[in-house]
Amino acid sequence: MVYLTRKIDFSASHLYHNPALSAEENKRIFGKCNNPHGHGHNYTLEVTVVGEPDPVTGMVLDLKELKRILEQEITQRMDHRFLNYEVAELKDQIPTCENIVRVIWNLLEPKIKQGRLHKLRLYETPDLFAECYRNGAKPA
């Protein structure tokens, strides 16, 4: 098995607010992330696909194809967007790293037909990120 990782960047704004909670509770839990006008990040997404290299092409999957999937599913959906208002999959969820990475998993997993999606790592800043992988998988 070989693990292949491709990285993409996108920039987006968001805010953390749960309408089921009071204004004070929102402020207490989410702090400055609760600013009603939002704020933004340069996100970095690392996508790891695992598989056997094809005996003819030597590829686990064609990187051009992975690039196309990432462009179509992630960049077009999230880049230069306000995640709360413009990404339907995040509607009614707080757009934390944890939730965004799960949404991305569910978007990408069915599209990757050569090899299989092994792990995602989504950086919100260089010091904060979330990972997503199957239960029991080694997060290598």
């Binding site: 944890e98 979330a130 992988y133």
Partner: protein, 154 residues
Amino acid sequence: MSDNLKIALGRRYNFVSSHRLHTAALSEEENYRVFGKCNNPFGHGHNYVAEIYVSGKVDPATGMIVNLADLDAFVEREVVEVFDHKSLNQDVPAFRDAVPTTENVCIEIFQRLKNFPLAKIERVRIEETGNNSFEYAGEALPDHARSDRQGMAQ
């Protein structure tokens, strides 16, 4: 499908410390042979990075495994305040007897964090420099590396 997924949060913290690799179990010559320039009697320092991975259920009300303010306060108290701008050999009790290699620093930091009450500490990865890093996830250790041995007890 989502129920089969694991979500882990990674957070990086910085601390700067000095250390000297030296063990009383070896002669001066052997120490120098084994540890080379890291055996300099006056010590030397690094900019360390502690990368902490936590996992748990993502709370639907907050979208979070753990509130970052709580994780930051815990790591700040248990690790950063203990290690930052310190001499690992002289200021951190665990290294009075144990050699403060980054392997041992990594194990010590995992032990200090593993009882975090709000989420599971999955693993700890320590960068000693941009080129050297060490990872520990709580695997069983041989007796000589156990954290509860004399000198490592907290």
